[in-house]
Amino acid sequence: MAEMQDINLYLFLSAIMFIIGAAGAITRRNAIVVFMCIEIMLCSSSLLFIVFGRATRTFDGTFMIMFIMTVAAVEAAIGLAIFILMYRKTGSIDLDKFNIMKW
């Protein structure tokens, strides 16, 4: 169970990655960078899944990863298509510029 000793480190790593990803997602104005930060967050949760799957000696975490990855891929496709539409409409993908729903 070498796994057991390091589990704290893995959790710590996952936490840090998540926070970094979230921080980037709410700070950057470029839509594509925001998207990449979301991918970072997804990665951190995938890591968690694998770690706990290993710790309990099951494969459920691994299966979850399959589907997370698939969804991430689809999300990337559609998200980028939307970015292209955004760019066509207004000529920029600066997220601060999209505030028509302001009060």
Binding site: L9, I20, R29, N30, I32, R54, V71
Partner: protein
């Protein structure tokens, strides 16, 4: 030994993600992202999940990042406007909140792992996994017990493809 490797790979991954969010140039961000994925793949290998590591490299670093780079190219992103519009106070407050969350997480992470609940209950010890191979075990269960989610994800992929074509058509 593994711990040392973990620490090295982990810090490299953290560095990569930090550079993603701090780069001014979008292409640089994308490239740092690729490196980040590589380091994460390394961590997966440490966890004896080779297939996942490969999958990560192929799908994430290969397909998705390429996708993003295509988009960057098509959208002709210039450098981030450096005539600093100062970061909004709200966003700083958000960062503070995140820091707070992290502080709350720390004790959990460091001390809070309840080892008694982490019963090693499943059948997949290292030996068995090594005997059959990670991918074999995975695919065995993927096409029997988890067939329905598999099919649904394939539908999801189809939808995604069709959708993105529809959206981006002129």
């Amino acid at each position: 030994m593994e711990t040392v490797l973990l620490i090295i790979l982990g810090s490299l991954a953290i560095t990569g993600s930090l550079m993603v969010i701090f780069s001014k140039n979008t292409v640089h961000s994308a490239l740092w992202m690729v490196s980040f994925f590589f380091f994460i793949a390394g961590i997966y290998i440490l966890l004896h999940a080779e297939f996942i590591a490969m999958l990560q490299l192929i799908v994430y670093a290969g397909a998705i990042m390429m996708f993003i780079l295509y988009a960057i190219m098509m959208l002709n992103i210039r450098e981030e406007l450096s005539d600093r519009i100062p970061v909004q106070p709200l966003k700083l407050a958000g960062i503070a909140l995140l820091g707070f969350i992290f502080l709350l997480l720390l004790p959990m992470v460091v001390f809070g792992v309840n080892h008694s609940m982490l019963t090693a209950s499943g059948p997949f010890t290292e030996q068995i996994v090594e005997k059959f191979g990670h991918m074999a075990v995975l695919s065995n269960y993927l096409f029997s017990d988890f067939l329905l989610p598999f099919e649904i994800t394939s539908i999801l992929l189809t939808v995604g493809v069709v959708g993105s074509v529809m959206l981006a058509k002129k």
